[in-house]
Symmetry: C2
Amino acid sequence: MITRNPSLTDQVKAHIKEQIVNDEFEDGRIPPEAALAEDLGVSRTTIRDALGKLEHEGAIFRKQGAGTFVNEAGLQIRSRLEEIWSYEQVLEDHGYTPSVQILTDEILTVNDDTGAALGLVEGDEVLVVEKLFLENDKPVVLTRNRIPATLLADDDRSHDDLPIYEFLEEYCDRRLSYYVSEIIPVAFNTDQARKLGVKRGTVGLSFVEVGFDQDNEPVVHATSYFRDDLLRFRMIRRRTGT
Amino acid sequence: MITRNPSLTDQVKAHIKEQIVNDEFEDGRIPPEAALAEDLGVSRTTIRDALGKLEHEGAIFRKQGAGTFVNEAGLQIRSRLEEIWSYEQVLEDHGYTPSVQILTDEILTVNDDTGAALGLVEGDEVLVVEKLFLENDKPVVLTRNRIPATLLADDDRSHDDLPIYEFLEEYCDRRLSYYVSEIIPVAFNTDQARKLGVKRGTVGLSFVEVGFDQDNEPVVHATSYFRDDLLRFRMIRRRTGT
DNA sequence: AAGTGGTCTAGACCACTAT
DNA sequence: TAGTGGTCTAGACCACTTC
């Protein structure tokens, strides 16, 4: 595992991104694609793929016939919903020092919701891990992940403090590919409020998600709760059709 | 305007999508890219671009070395946050018959929030349009859009019942390119609750968004409120880096 | 008219999966 | 080993912006 050397496209992307953050482009204008291709000794296709990724993540914007430009506003956006794969990373990006508490870690028989989400039947077992993410000892995120017990290679679960996607790769040989997430506003119940350190009935955001692996198999059912006063999500909604 | 004929890629995409929904592929297996290119008389690049878009919107998934397959679960997802450009469309997709009420339609001097979002200064004017979207006479979505008055070509605002992106194209000559959206859980206040036909304090979702045009200029500041019991959003969160 | 990004082609080679 | 998707190249032409 972990043998992948970055593709040419990703190297080019990183290179241009670095120049952007170092403010090395006059007037926020990025050189023509042909010039970049020449300078870096790669084809224009590779340049375009790299620029396409940068555009997608809001770092640049392009105007046909005019040029490619740095997107100053886009660079400022933090906590982009599309990019979240580890809440510790999110809290770090916010400038916090994150820590993690494992509240629950046990194998249980599956309930109806999780069974439906993961394609399991009554009596099947799942590993349930409940975690609390804190910044400077203040609770921000509460998560509950459920993984089919059949995916666990052995009984070694001493590393369940890893982000879920790393745990799945290291100990289940599954690569998390994407989540289907449902976005739900809630008033925290007694239990949630106590764990998050707020008053019962406080309004917050929650996600109910199913994670799929490289074979498009559901491998994790997750529910997360967020303190809206400490962490707020953003996203870029881009026009596709029409 | 409206001169654009669909690109080859988009035609191919539509063609394959149609075959998918008509269940014309054996075992949900999509033919190899080389075969598709040959059959349709286009290059493999065009096929790959089309398949890439279909993968991105969750209609298919690909496994290197193995093939391309229909994503049955992905096809079922409705109300995808990334794809929303008209709430009437969202309600239609839900199988409802939508209608729209215009609650407010006036030119006001800008407030601080909107001014900051749109880069306006005190005293500048904005067109404020508040709308209520209903399904079978039941309120579901409440929106408030603010557009700089300087963008309005003339005083004809008789068509502000159009979706905001169409209004901007038709009457302001601006093409809405993307939104930066903040996702906020709320307890509805008296005014919001009355308009949405729920009890004060009911929990719901809200978006605060800024829309940017083809020149990356902010052109609309929008706030939206949703009845969580009638409309719930989903999204596909895809892994990009690592 | 010149310059820039957008689309499309034809072909090569690599990485991975299946058998 | 054969077949499939992933990456990369070199080049052509088109659509649009700018001057």
